[in-house]
Structures are given as C-alpha cells and as structure tokens.
C-alpha cells in the first residue's frame, strides 16, 4: 500500500531539491502519477515509526498555467492525492516566495512552510518575525538552511503531526464578493478556480460549459468596466496588497549597510567602461589561480601516485607478468590515480564559482553580458548557465531553467557543453602542462576556454537564426545585495559539487578503468613458440593484439588526420563515458607500453609520443567533441526529446573534428613535423 505523498512546492532555485535530498536521503525514485505526464521524483523516509512519502514538484513562480511545469504541478495538487504541501521559501526573497504561497492558500490545501536560506537573511541583517507571519498566514513555519540540513527534523516533526489547512486569507470585501459571484455563475467551482478565471487561465476556462463560459465572460467584462482595469491586474493588486502588508508587519530590512556596499560595488563592476574588462580580467585570474595554485599540489599528488605504484609493484618480483599486478598498477593506480591527481584544480574551480554565486556577482554577469548576448539572439541571463558550465554541464543545463522562453532556453542548453567543464580540466591540464612552457600555461588555459565560449556563441547564433528562430526576451533579473561570502559556505558549496567528482572517480572512472584495462590486457598475446622476445616488444605486441588495440586501429582513419594514433583514438572513444577517462586511458596505455621507464610520469611520456600540433588538435577535440553520457541524459530529460541531445552530439563532434584536423594540418606544416 502506498502512502499519500507530501508535495514539495516552491519557486525555481530556492533549494527545493536540496531540501528533498536532506529529507529523503538516497531513497528516491522517479514516480509516475495518473493523469500527470511529467515524471516526478519521489522519496520515502521512516520517521517515528511512520512511513512518509515526498514528491519534488517542478519549480514555479505561480500556479497560472503558463508553462508545462506549472500546469503539471497544479494538476498534481488539485487531484487532492497529497497529504499536504511543503511550501519552501527563499526567506531572503520573501516577497517573491509569498506570491506562490498565496496561490497555494487559495487552493485550501494543508500547508507547512519551510523558510530556507535563513543564513543569508541573517548575514544581510534582515530580521523576520516568523511567529507573526505564521499566525497571520495560518500555517506552520519552520526556519532552516536546507544545505546544512538545519530545520529538517523540525519540519519532519511538523509533518508528522497533522498539517492544517490555512484559514483563508481575505482579500478586500469587494473582491471577495466578486469571487463568490463567479463561483455561483460557474456552477459552484472552488474558490481558487474562480480566481484563475479572473486571471483568464485558459485551462480552467475550458473546463466550463459553453453557457457558463459566456456568463463568466460577460461578468468579467462588467467587472473590468467597473474597476477600470483588466481583471488580471486586479488579482495581482489584491495579492500584492496582502504581501506588502505581511512584509511591512513581519520583516525588518536595515537600510544602510548592505545597500551602501551594493551601491559602491555596482558603481564599479557595472560601470559603462569598466564592466567588461573587470569581468574578463576576473575570468583570466580564475584560470591563473586554478593553474598556478593547483600546480604544486598536483605535482605532490603525482609523486605520491608514482610512489604508490612502485610500492604495490614491489610485492611482485621485478619483471613479473602477474595479471593481478598489472590490474592494480596499470589499471587502478594508473587509471583512477591519473585522474585523482587533478582534484586540487577542480576544487579550486568550484570554489571560485561558489564565490561568484555567494557574493552576488553571478547575477550581475547577466547585465554585463546582455549586449554581447543580444548579438547572438539571447539575453544576458543565458550567460549564467554558461559560467556554471565551467564547473559541470549537468547542473548548468538544469540551471538554464531560469530562462523563460523555450527556444532561448534550448539554444543555451545546447551550447553549455562547449564551455570546458571540470571533467575536461584534467585532460587540458595534462596536455597543457606537458606541451606548454610553465610561464604560458595560465594564458593557454584561458585561451582554450575562450575558444570554447566563442564557438559556443557562434553555434547559438546559428540556432537562433534557424531551428530556434524567435524574438528575444528582454532582460529582467533581480540583483541580490552583495554579501561577503563566509569561508564555511564556500567550503560547503565546493565540497557539495566537488564530491561528485571524487565519487565518480571511485565508481564510474574505476569501473571504466578496469574495463579498459581488461580490453587492453586481453586477449592475451602469445609469442610464437621458441622465440623469446624482449619484454618491451612483448608488451607492445600485447597492446596491439588487445581488443582496445583493434578498436583503436579501426578508428584510426578518423584520428590520423589530427595526428592521433590508435591509442589516442581509443582514449577519445572511452572519453564518451566521462571526459576524465581520457587521462586514465592514456595512463593505462602508456604505462603498459614498457618501452618507458615506469617511474616517468604521464606528461613526459606524452611529449615523447606526440608532437605539439597533435597535442593542440587533441585539446581542441576534447574541448569541443560530444559531451559525456550524463550531459546527453540531462539534455534528453530537459528538452523531453531525443532530437536535441542527438543533434548536439553530431554538431559538437563534427565541429571538433574539423577544428582538430585544421589545427594539426596547419600546425604540422608550420613546425615541419
């Protein structure tokens, strides 16, 4: 028997999913509900002997059926199959959160409020009287910080008791009378539906009989005449009056401190002349920091990795051909270790992105880049997901939900993977540090990112002129007050995101490394009877004889024009699972290649095997080629079609190949390889 679920509802980006995860832990699955076409994530949790089910609804600013998500959420709530609603607020943006709350109250369903981001509220010196708010709204309010799991047990306590249906908030006498009249005309519909009729909600209107529809239309026309304005505006005005009143009564915002800081910083970073140079300077600094600060740590980890490899190898006699030794040293340490040594760089990148978000600078980027983005048919908001893409494409593509227009959203999501992500960083760092002199590495890295941005924007422009044609939505964003981020919050943000990279290294990358090792160690090569080959020749023959060797050779015609051999080919093919695998794959292939001294690191081996133009071509190919499996999957689920992820793979790989081949062919002629 399944329990009736609690629905978690709130605006986009208020930490709904974070709250959902802190409540349900790992017990989630995707549920399907009758009459609802959109998949919903559902999770259960045991608390005080009871079993509680939670459903994570898509984020919505209002319950007006404008987007598919909003309509689906409304259907779900309406069917009254819920035990109650947990309405999550961004307490630091209360006026916006309250708008949806009022609509939920109108539906007369049981509600409990979880006020999230109360740490931000406190750091801005804002004080909110939650008791007073709770009393006036007639709902329980639990204040907390979902990210830190604060207030989650208090919320469970509230859920475990009975959630109350809030006593209806009353609008003005005149408006309440109107609602009553409309309910009667439309055949006794619920209160909220009458209000939606005034908002001219298509879906609700279509539910009426023709006669009712005509009567409602007539009534609204009379009312609009009487009010001297559109009914939609009247509804908004009524709601806003209550929200403003609640806000004035229960919230105190200090004037001075935060606003002074905000005015000062904005006058600099949004300055007509300085804005762009400051922004690009900041990005350049970011890549410098990622490289120079990360470099010593990487060197240390590499030495540790080499020591570990020789330590493990020392359990076998020198020259042993043990399969287990090869699996551990070449497969696991060479594969996973090769990726893990780049952890410092990836964490630094995530930390800087967390700083941009927590400080409030991130939303300014929408303003700074608005004019540039409008040249490719998007508004400045689209640049925010692109910056997030420097971390990881998956959350970045989800982050593009902030873009209202579907066509602009898909165009943005389509080009997010052109932004070089954290997983590509190990590959870029490996190749850059192997081939570029130390002094120019930061610059080289910036240049690589810049090329990704430019090509991405060109693709966006082409899409907006062809498949995703349409008028551009003008920019409208809230700019939060600046806030000096606490070290603790940056550490938590960085860890939350960075840990996925470590988990991936321990799971996907480990599995792929072992599989790749198997593919390169089997089928075993048997030297012709009687002949005794030197060890190096035997190892080389083994590699060429293996599955991966054969696969790489099959793909050789594709990779030869960019200076690649079968090893590079097989590394690129494996990188489709996750980009970091390229590093592990090269690590495995080159460490099996016993021609080298085993202690030399991967960089030295690479320089020995490949020329500079070839390295540039590999960089371009890894930067621009098909995104990883996870990106493909998220593209499919976000656009609800196979078309976009497939087109993305084809377009990106095509562009990557052309650019890589061009770089190699031109480079090789200049250098004279």
């Amino acid at each position: 028997m399944t329990q009736r679920p609690f629905a978690i509802a709130g605006n986009p980006n208020v930490g709904k999913t974070t709250l959902f995860n802190s409540i349900t832990g790992f017990s989630q699955h995707v549920g399907n509900y009758p009459g609802v076409t959109i998949d919903k994530v559902e999770g259960t949790v045991r608390y005080k002997g009871g079993v509680f089910t939670f459903v994570d609804l898509p984020g919505a600013y209002s319950l007006l059926a404008i987007s598919q998500d909003e309509l689906a959420s409304r259907h779900f709530l309406e069917q009254a199959t819920t035990n109650g609603i947990i309405n999550i607020w961004d307490a630091s943006n209360l006026k916006q959160s309250l708008y949806l709350t009022l609509e939920l109250v109108e539906m007369e369903l049981p509600i409990t409020v979880y006020a999230n981001m109360t740490d931000v509220v406190r750091s801005r010196g804002i004080s909110i009287n939650y008791d007073r708010l709770s009393e006036r709204l007639g709902v329980d309010i639990v204040a907390g910080v979902a990210r830190l799991k604060k207030g989650v047990s208090a919320l469970m306590e509230s859920v475990e008791g009975k959630i109350a249906v809030p006593s209806s908030l009353h609008y003005t006498q005149e408006f309440e009378t109107t609602i009553k009249q409309l309910r009667a005309i439309a055949g006794g519909i619920p209160r909220w539906q009458a209000i939606k009729l005034l908002e001219k909600d298509k879906e609700i209107t279509e539910r009426l009989t023709t006669a009712q529809r005509e009567a409602v239309k007539g009534k609204i026309a009379i009312l609009e005449d009487e009010w001297g304005e559109k009914a939609t505006r009247k509804v908004v005005r009524e709601r806003r009056a209550i929200i403003d009143d609640l806000f004035d009564d229960c919230v105190h915002v200090p004037e001075r401190k935060s606003q002074f800081l905000t005015r000062f910083i904005d006058s600099v970073v949004l300055n007509k002349y300085a804005a762009l140079p400051i922004f690009f300077g900041f990005l350049f600094l970011m890549f410098q920091v990622v490289f120079t600060l990360g470099e010593p740590m990487v060197a240390l980890l590499e030495r540790g990795n080499a020591l570990l490899a020789s330590f493990v190898a020392s359990f076998w006699s020198a020259g042993s051909t043990s399969i287990l030794k090869s699996l551990l040293v070449d497969g696991v340490i060479g594969g996973v270790g090769g990726v893990l040594v780049f952890t410092p760089n990836i964490f630094l990148m995530f930390a800087i992105i967390a700083f941009m978000e927590d400080s409030g600078y991130m939303s300014r980027i929408a303003v700074i880049m608005d004019r540039q983005m409008s040249r490719v048919g998007l508004n400045g908001k689209s640049f925010i997901p692109l910056i997030l893409g420097f971390g990881c494409s998956v959350p970045a593509i989800m982050g593009a939900r902030i873009i209202e227009s579907r066509r602009e959203r898909i165009a943005t999501q389509f080009v997010v993977p052109f932004m070089s992500c954290g997983a590509r960083l190990p590959v870029l760092l490996l190749l850059v540090s192997a081939f570029v002199p130390a002094a120019y590495r930061g610059l080289a890295l910036s240049l690589i990112y810049f090329i990704g941005i430019v090509i991405g924007l060109i693709v966006a422009l082409v899409l907006r002129l062809t498949l995703l044609r349409g008028t551009k939505t003008p920019l409208l964003v809230e700019l939060p007050h600046y806030n000096i981020p606490s070290l603790k919050s940056i550490v938590i943000h960085t860890w939350e995101r960075g840990k996925h990279f470590l988990i991936k290294a321990g799971t996907v990358i480990l599995a792929v490394s072992v599989i790749l090792w198997v593919l390169s160690a089997f089928p075993r090569y048997k030297a012709p009877a009687g002949s005794s080959l030197p060890e190096t020749t035997a190892a080389r023959s083994q590699l060429e004889h293996s599955f991966i060797g054969r696969l790489g050779k099959m793909a050789k015609p594709i990779f030869a024009p960019m200076g690649g051999d079968w090893k590079i080919g097989s590394a690129f093919i494996s990188a489709l699972a996750a980009k970091e695998v390229f590093v592990s794959q090269m690590g495995i292939l080159l460490s099996l290649d016993k021609e080298d001294v085993p202690e030399t690191n991967l960089r030295t081996k690479l320089v020995k095997h490949y020329s500079l133009p070839a390295a540039l071509a590999f960089i371009a190919f890894i930067l621009l080629s098909a995104p990883c499996m996870a990106t493909f999957a998220i593209m499919k689920s976000e656009t609800k079609s196979w078309r976009w992820p497939l087109l993305q793979v084809v377009t990106m790989t095509g562009i990557a190949w052309v650019v890589a081949v061009f770089l190699y062919q031109v480079g090789a002629r200049i250098v004279g390889v």
Partner: protein, 74 residues
C-alpha cells in the same frame, strides 16, 4: 514620464505598466507593480537599467523600461 528616460538618482513611483499582460504578470511576480516606489540607479546607453524598489535591486532591459510609466516623488 517613461522609465527608460529617467536619470540616475530619480526617485519615483510606478504609475502604469503598459504592454502585454504577460509582462505585467512577470513583473508582478517579482514584486514590481503599479504604486511601487522606484529609484533609478543607472541608465546608460543601450544597457539595461539598474533600479531599486522595495529594498531589492533589479536590472530591467530598455525594451521593458519603455513600457513602465513613472511619476516623480519629491
């Protein structure tokens, strides 16, 4: 007067929001409605305007600002 023509430092009240209802609703759900106080912070060239209202700060594209009518509040 129209918001897009207001100089920085101008303090005003929104008197009317013209244009489509969808724009009205979008602004309203963010807290920008008729009757709200509005201070202009930046207004340069073709870039979005920066305004303050109800303790919050917003960036508003010029195309939208052309649809917002304001009256001066001394």
């Amino acid at each position: 007067m129209v918001l897009s023509l207001a100089k920085p430092g101008f303090s005003s009240q929104i008197s009317h929001i013209c244009g489509e209802e969808s724009l009205f609703m979008r602004l309203a759900s963010m807290g920008i409605t008729e009757g709200a106080q509005l201070n202009v912070i930046m207004n340069e060239g073709k870039r979005p305007l920066i305004v303050e209202s109800g303790g919050s700060r917003y960036a508003i594209a010029r195309e939208i600002a052309k649809d917002i009518e304001i009256t001066e509040v001394p």
